[in-house]
Amino acid sequence: MHKKETVLADMARAVVDMDETAAAKLAETSIELGVDAYTGINDGLVKGMNIVGEKYDNEEYFIPELLLCSDAMTAGIDVLRPHLPVKEQKVKEKIVIGVIQGDTHDIGKNLVKIMLETSGFEVVDLGRDVAPQKFVDTAVEVNARLIGLSTLMTTTMGKMEEVIRLLEDQGIRDRFRVMVGGEPVSKGFADRIGADAYALNGTEAAKTALELVATF
């Protein structure tokens, strides 16, 4: 039998153990025990995912493990979300992300997505091989303030710069913060094309995005 005190730790454990079924079941238990859904998400599931992030950074977990942990977290959140009081379902900060045109490698981008979601962002994922104009149009359309561009190929780096030029041409550069990442990209490159930030990997990207929000 679970007690209030242990159920949160067990939810975190289920995420770390990649156990989707247990995470959903424990989320139900937490509601039955009277734990509020917001606490269940933050002090249970997300806490577990943060441990997963540490294990990834320490090279204990890799992409296959990370994906399964994220599935477990999502299964738990799906159970808890309907129990959130309306005022806690506050509007999330939106970020538009995608792999720039000419590149279909999206493993890194998907990782960034998971980490951003864990950090509370609403991620609008445009997928891979995305034209520069599409980033700009979508960001305007969904009212996002952040744009994240990823690439694995040196060939496509020029297209990242194009996104920034398009924002400037439309006179809306100030409304957005643009971050770039991916294997061939560097801090120097980000500065050169006029991006606001560079992130080395998924966990960095989430931290960087939070920092960028604070600059508005």
């Binding site: 977990y61 890799f62 279909t104 999206d106 493993i107 091989d129």
Partner: protein, 335 residues
Amino acid sequence: MLNEKERLLAILQGEDVDRPAVICPGGMMSAATTKVLEKFGDRFHSDPGLMAEAALAIRQTTGFENLGVPFCLTVEAEVLGSRVDPGDASVEPLVTEYGAATLDEMLNLPAPSFQRDGRLSIVTDAIGLLAEKSEGTPIIGNITGPISLATSIMDPMIFFRLMGKEKQGVHRVLDRLIDFLVLFAREQIRAGAHVISIADPSATGDILGPANFRAFVVPGLNRLAAEIRRAGAGCIIHVCGRAGTIVDEFNDIGSAALSFDSVVSMKKVRDRVPGPPLMGNLSTHMLHTNTPEKINRATRRNMESGVEIVSPACGISLSTPHENLRAMTDTVKGL
């Protein structure tokens, strides 16, 4: 004095030679730049004559000591159900639609015909044409590594999850894909390839980690390398990304030269994996953006790191200047 073919084959046999070879194998690691390709219209991926001509032109322009086909990593995925955008002289072919959504669908894919399906015979015919003209130059055929092939047929995000959830099913699928890759490698060798290079950019240490690499990658690469040697050709395996967590696993892969990305220290690899010939690993970013003088110095440092084969560290950018590739090959040749 050894010719280019004798030197590369001797190196791959583990023999001592006069100097390192300098090559760019083809496939994912192709030196087919836009500047060379634009002279051949848009059918160099799909016409054996043009593919062979382009391979000869690449060697002529860059000085790499090999002929390598094809120029992409999509030939196998295309005959196993995926849709491929053929690209052009400035964009490499890309998988745009996956051929399967489940492991069962992958297991039930019909066996491709080497005569009729996709570009399989384009590649072997091009190798046949090169064999007639390649006197003294090694021909390198290329195959897609098993994990990269699997993740070109199925969305990688699904496949990586299944590695954790349905290990047996994933093993069965990989075995089937390797059966096919062995046959394709044999066809290329029969057509005249002297060496087969395997690139598996999705099977990196960063993505999979050592445990998955040991379970899902090492046995497959071992079997492929053994079959390629048995069919009478040399074998090269290219590994992308940071390899720190998986380097030791290569002690269990016999009979292939090992090529690593530019982030990997070849000296450290040599310490930890003393056996096989090493190939690598000039930064492709440097080759794209730096000057011939700097590339000359970097190539010298690369040779001092103890590699037997000098090569770009990964797939080069299509807009890499030829003078830069020349600077690299001339330096190795002592010109």
